[in-house]
Amino acid sequence: MLNKIPTWRKVLLYAALILICAVTLLPLVWMLSASLKLDKDVFRIPIEWIPSDPAWSNYQRIWEQVPMLRFTFNTFKVTIITTIIQVFTCSFAAYGFAKCQFKGRNLLFLLYVATIAVPWQVYMLPQYTMMNNVFHMVDTHAVLILLHSFDAFGVFLLRQFCMGIPNELLEAARIDGLSEYGIYRRIVLPQMGPSIATLVIFTFVSNWNDFMGPMIYLNSTELKTVQLGIRMFMGQYSTEYGLIMAASVVSLIPVIIVFLIFQKQFVQGIATSGLKG
């Protein structure tokens, strides 16, 4: 009965949705279009949305003018290592918080949750000072990896999922003689699959897009990430609009791919961490 939407309403709905999406995506479509134009044509009116003579050379030149390939490699390196550490330590801690009974557990967890509420700006400077004066790690990739690998949010997210695993299942395994570590590896980890996928995507996207971390910590050109690379581009070739847009498009591609493949998990993750949190 609910499935029956009258045709006229359907048409109206589609029209509204198409209009909204057109407005929402307009900046990105404009970006794509401009990335295939020569600088002099970027702002020409009326807009030629599909360039008749696409300047593919923009996509060639971005790799030549700044070391974009190097930046891309750096970003992949930092993002992948962070994601791996994040997944292991967070899923481990999540199991501890969700299913192990011990004194002080709730207090420790409260500490994690409270930290999520503390804005990064509060400790960004002390963190920098510590990295600089104590660990002498400024201007390395290791510092970016460390900075993002122990995110309290990841523990929180996985714990929420972990809570849903029935205790009877774990009890049965204990009776069968599995140790807690065995239970984690053989039972809990496989069950956490979807939630780990969510965490992977969140970590990947936020690390790939991270801008302030690299900006504060990295000085050497050869260490920079894609986001800093585009900023560098904008500083050095501020009027080469076509090139800046081409570099921006390239920087979005990995996120688009990951997002399109895993969007179901992404949406589920937001819904779960959001509403039941």
Partner: protein, 309 residues
């Protein structure tokens, strides 16, 4: 891999014949699960937070010896005009961002929550700006908001606005432009939260409304809206906190300028930190930001409790 190592090292064979009680063993096992993450969390988050608490009562530039100054840092920032303006601008930015984003995301969620073919494509399209990088997004919006040639001013001129503003280059219009981009980037995220809440509403309730002859408008306000209360609280809280903390996007768009036109609280903290290298004042300003965020969180939790009773 890390797990195996951990497993091998941390799982001692159960001590036969006493020594360790079951309870103590459980505690150790539990802690062993948490430790790898906790060490990182403790060193990288907790210590810096405690250090910030200490710094806000001291004068320090990072090199010379620290000097205890009591509340001087707070006195300084509270009388600093740029700080006062930053607070006011942050409140304006937050108020507009929260109200408009909430209305739009709710509207979008209702629209998307239809059984139509291909609805997933629309959802993806609206959500995408949220995962796009701030740097790329800022680059394109700067061009769209360009004064003489930008698309937005072309449209405004076509609509009859004789002299459209310079947006990011104008002290008066930079903040509104930043708010627009902020809303555009985040509305998809909150739409998803509302959408999840809408889909949690049992269809039987809505069907009952239909049988009783309620029209779509009444069904929304009488049946769905009250059930969306939790989602609305959550969205309002997250939006408020995130708007207060807002930093990357504004920095990428304007770096707080022109002048101090878009220097919000976060940008002020950044400037005190990495431009002036005044650790004390930076931390004092950061504590103000933290206090505001904490008060809002507590207030909203209180309110939520009161309403759900």
């Amino acid at each position: 891999m890390a797990v195996k190592e951990k497993t091998g090292r941390e799982a001692p064979p159960a001590p036969k014949g006493g020594g360790m009680t079951l309870r103590r063993r459980r505690t150790l096992v539990g802690l062993s699960f948490i430790t790898p993450n906790f060490v990182g969390f403790f060193v990288l988050n907790l210590i810096p937070i405690l250090f910030a608490l200490l710094l806000c009562f001291n004068k320090w530039d990072g090199f010379n010896p620290m000097e205890f100054v009591g509340l001087d840092n707070f006195k300084y920032i509270f009388t600093h005009k740029v700080f006062q303006q930053a607070v006011v601008k942050t409140v304006i930015f937050t108020a507009f961002s929260v109200v408009i984003t909430m209305l739009l995301s709710l509207g979008l969620a209702v629209l998307i929550n239809q059984k139509l073919k291909g609805i997933g494509i629309f959802r993806t399209a609206i959500f995408f700006p949220y995962v796009a990088s701030v740097v790329a997004v800022a680059a394109v919006w700067q061009m769209l908001f360009q004064k003489d040639m930008g698309l937005i001013n072309e449209i405004l001129r076509a609509l009859g606005v004789a002299d459209p503003p310079g947006w990011f280059a104008s002290t008066k219009w930079a903040l509104p432009a930043v708010i627009v981009v902020n809303i555009w980037k985040n509305m998809g995220y909150y739409m998803i939260i509302y959408l999840a809440a809408l889909q949690d509403i049992p269809t039987s309730l809505v069907e009952a409304g239909m049988i009783d002859g309620a029209n779509a408008w009444q069904r929304f306000w009488r049946i769905k809206w009250p059930l969306l209360r939790n989602a609305t609280f959550f969205v309002a809280m997250m939006l408020t906190i995130n708007s207060f903390k807002s930093f990357d996007l504004i920095y990428a768009l304007t770096e707080g300028g022109p002048g101090t036109a878009t220097t919000l609280l976060s940008q002020y903290i950044y400037n005190q930190s990495f431009v002036s290298w005044d650790y004390g004042r930076a931390s004092a300003a950061a504590m103000v930001l933290f206090a505001i965020v904490a008060v809002i969180t507590l207030f909203q939790f209180r309110l939520e409790k009161k309403f759900s009773e």
